[in-house]
């Protein structure tokens, strides 16, 4: 096996990122520590809720129906809103401050944003635990006789939205500082990505306001019942999908440079185009969430199906940029094995392990996402466990692992301590992925068979197929495995956040920057092969789904719908 001769950065050496984070003003550090801590608390609450939900579905725990759905609500609200948005706000601010090199601009606004988001967090958690269970989409029709639950639930998300706007404005002002000082004529690729991401966060807040302000007004007696909540929710839901994915890819850019010294070999312009592509491609691809809606016109269904094919364009392009840049740099330093160049990556660093396994999970998640976006398959898969079965690869495998990787790099620099037990933490992503594979395989199979996504007892008085409870038991096993592994990582990250004691040892990084001899002259096949494997997998599972739907003892004929 050919191996890569790498130059490991000397122990104690700091990257540009960590040096800049370490030098932030103490007021910024305090704000960031608060936001990171709150985000981790939301993740812990969501993890507990998710694990309990999975065990209840598996039949290992029993709850009264309202309690079960309250736990499911807490899981969704905590993870999909507060963990993902709080961590995004915190990462936006810390990366913007590092980009600026002199801390945050408009600091009072950043504190105001944090206060609003934390107030929203408290309100949402409280009403989720005590009110009518509305699940994370807060559908008002579930509590038409309980305006208080609807209003308070909406208020929580609206406070979060207001805080996000404040944080995003602060982030934008911060990344503009070097230009205002005349130190830069344009953004770096990271700076531009932060600028666009912040704008997208504001749009997400607009979408949340559009979806939840009517509920609050109705609860206050100041507006009609929000009968269109389902449609408005889909817009926010779509943003909720792709905004954190853009953030995860941005974090991959940042971590790749931190862990290997490698920046894009394709130049900043292509990276900026790819980050802008998230905002260009995401809105038009949002219709596939609505394929099951009875009043969606056929023309919208057709256009939506076609556009959905483009939903992965920016993510795959960004993946290809990062992988080809790493591979070309490795080969320029002498790596010669087909995949051997990857051995030179600093896998002993838990951040690297998290990022690498996140990429694997992303490929699995995209594979099944593309089965779901076919409108003819929606009547077999939408509203089934197929949906959580595949999206946990994204939510846990990609997003959570990527953001935790960022914390493993940033928190030691922020607090002055050191990463807790890196040798243990670097093993967790593989365990998470094993758990996700069990959860996903059982969940996706259950989805193909029609198991609904939001039911605790799938027996239906003995009428359901015998495989359904068995598959749910496997879902519980998988969820338990990845929940434990994520919990270990979260524990390590929290210990790191609280740690003020620097240690001599640092998680290893490599320096491939100096090896630019002949960069790009040799092939970099890992990216194209990965995409080819992805397409092959998409074909296989799409064909399986088509074969399955054709084999059913039913001929379904549409008709009577509007055109």
């Amino acid at each position: 096996m050919d191996t890569l001769s790498t130059s490991f950065a000397p122990a104690g050496a700091t990257s540009r990122l960590t040096a800049r984070v370490a030098s932030l003003p103490s007021a910024d550090k305090a704000l960031l520590a608060l936001l990171f801590g709150a985000a981790l608390l939301a993740l812990v609450l969501g993890l507990v809720g998710g694990a309990v939900t999975a065990l209840a579905r598996a039949g290992a725990l029993t709850f009264l129906p309202d309690d079960a759905y309250r736990i499911l609500t807490l899981h969704g609200v905590s993870v999909f809103f507060y963990w993902l948005y709080l961590i995004q706000a915190a990462l936006l601010l810390v990366l913007a401050a590092a980009e600026n090199g002199r801390g945050l601009a408009l600091r009072p606004l950043a504190w105001t944003g944090a206060a609003l988001m934390l107030a929203g967090f408290g309100v949402s958690e409280w009403i989720s635990a005590t009110g009518t269970p509305l699940l994370y989409d807060g559908s008002p029709e579930l509590a038409a006789d309980d305006p208080r639950s609807v209003g308070v639930f909406a208020l929580g998300y609206l406070l979060l939205s207001a805080g996000l706007v404040a944080s995003a404005v602060c982030g934008i002002a911060t990344v503009l500082q070097p230009r205002l000082r005349g130190e830069a004529g344009e953004f770096t690729s990271i700076g531009f990505a932060l600028f666009a991401w912040a704008g997208f966060l504001v749009v997400s807040a607009i979408a949340a306001t559009n979806a939840f302000l009517p509920g609050l007004l109705w609860a206050l007696g100041a507006g009609p019942f929000p009968a269109d909540h389902g449609t408005e929710w889909h817009i926010l839901f779509h943003n909720l999908h792709y905004l954190p994915l853009m953030a995860a890819v941005l974090v991959w850019y940042v971590l790749s440079e931190h862990l290997t010294g490698v920046t894009s070999i394709h130049g900043p312009r292509l990276s900026k185009i790819v980050f802008a592509a998230y905002l260009v491609f995401v809105p038009p691809t949002s219709l596939y969430h609505m394929f099951l809606e009875p009043n969606l016109s056929e023309s919208v269904r057709v256009v939506g199906s076609l556009l959905s094919l483009f939903v992965s364009v920016p993510t795959l392009a960004a993946f290809a940029i990062i992988v080809s840049s790493l591979e070309a740099s490795a080969r320029a330093r002498g790596a010669t094995g087909f995949f051997g160049w990857m051995q030179g990556l600093p896998w002993r660093n838990p951040a690297m392990a998290n990022m690498g396994w996140a990429a694997v999970n992303m490929m699995i998640g995209i594979t099944f996402a593309f089965v779901l976006i076919q409108e003819k398959l929606a009547p077999m898969l939408s509203d089934t466990f197929f949906v959580p079965g595949y999206f946990h690869f994204f939510a846990v495998g990609v997003l959570t692992q990527t953001f935790l990787a960022a914390l493993m790099v940033i928190l030691p620099a922020l607090g002055g301590g050191s990463l807790w037990r890196p040798d243990l933490l670097r093993r967790m992503p593989a365990v998470v992925t094993i758990g996700l594979l069990i959860f996903g395989a059982a969940g996706i199979t259950a989805g193909f068979m029609g198991v609904p996504r939001r039911v605790f007892d799938v027996g239906y008085g003995g009428m359901a197929p015998a495989a359904w409870p068995l598959l749910m038991a496997l879902v519980g096993v998988g969820a338990t495995i990845f929940a434990i592994a994520i919990s270990v990582t979260v524990y390590g990250v929290v210990r790191t956040l609280l740690s003020l004691r620097p240690s001599g040892g640092q998680a290893p990084v490599v320096d491939w920057r100096t090896g630019s001899r002949g960069v790009c002259a040799v092939p970099a096949w890992t990216g194209p092969l990965s995409v080819a494997a992805l397409i092959a997998a998409m074909y296989v599972f799409t064909i399986v789904a088509f074969q399955l739907i054709q084999s059913l003892p039913i001929i379904a004929i549409g008709g009577g719908h509007g055109h």
Binding site: P65, E141, A144, G230, I265, H266, L270, A277, L292, E293, P294, N295, L296, S297, E298, V303, L306, L309, S312, P314, L316, A317, S324, A328, E375, K376, P379, M380, L381, D383, T384, G450, P452, V455, F456, Y460, G461, M463, A464, P465, V519, C520, A521, L534, I535, M538, Y539, T542, I543, I549, Q550, S551, L552, I554, A556, I557, G558, G559, G560, G562
Partner: protein
């Protein structure tokens, strides 16, 4: 730079981003491609949806108001109710097989499409299924294999599902309140099929189910 290998060129990287679009080929092979080119003729449709005007789907029934649906549903259930609580639209096929089943001056949507007439003419027979917290009306339907039925469905209170478990997979149907959804369905095999709610609708959501018995 001319010495760049093509795998490290920007154009190649950008093209990789569009790689997943090639899945269109699989869609076309199954007649499910959204654009006119690719797989529309001579292929078995993805979900064997072959409505009269050339496209599948599952949409709201055009023109049927919720009030009209409720009236027709009530009439349908009353007319075909059996002693065991099930609803069997074929029970009185012999007696009521004639066309033009008008009732008290109301022009019923199933006029001319009653099961007896439908069986004879090959037209789908009209059925009405109402979903409400936390049950279906009717909750047991007795149907015949090979007969086409026009299912007219509506949620009475809040959003529900009326999905049908078919063995290896299900037909997932989402019903919005006061939106009449229409699908014409033919069961090709006899059996007992679970109908169940796939949209969370409240405390007893897990228990919301019915049956379609196909003989």
């Amino acid at each position: 730079m001319s010495e760049r290998h093509f795998t490290t060129r920007r154009g190649f990287i950008a093209a990789l981003g569009f790689g997943a679009v090639s899945l269109y080929g699989a869609w076309a092979a199954y007649g499910a491609a959204p654009l006119p080119f690719g797989g529309h003729s001579g292929h078995k449709d993805a979900a064997r949806e072959t409505d009269a005007d050339g496209h599948g789907g599952h949409g709201a029934a055009e023109g049927m108001a919720p009030e009209e649906f409720r009236f027709e549903h009530d009439f349908f259930v009353r007319k075909y109710a059996q002693k065991d609580g099930s609803v069997n639209p074929h029970a009185d096929a012999d007696a009521h097989g004639h066309e033009g089943d008008a009732h008290g001056g109301h022009g019923h949507a199933d006029a001319g499409h009653g099961p007896g007439a439908a069986t004879a003419s090959g037209e789908p027979a009209d059925l009405y299924l109402m979903a409400q917290k936390f049950a279906y009306s009717p909750d047991v339907l007795r149907l015949k294999a090979g007969q086409a039925y026009r299912f007219r469905m509506m949620a009475d209170d809040i959003t529900h599902g009326a999905s049908i478990q078919l063995g290896s997979a299900s037909r997932i149907i989402r019903l919005r309140p006061n939106v009449v959804t229409e699908q014409t369905i033919t069961f090709t095999k006899p059996g007992e099929y679970l109908v169940y709610c796939t949209v969370y609708c409240g405390q007893a959501h897990d228990a919301m189910h019915g049956r379609i018995v196909v003989g």
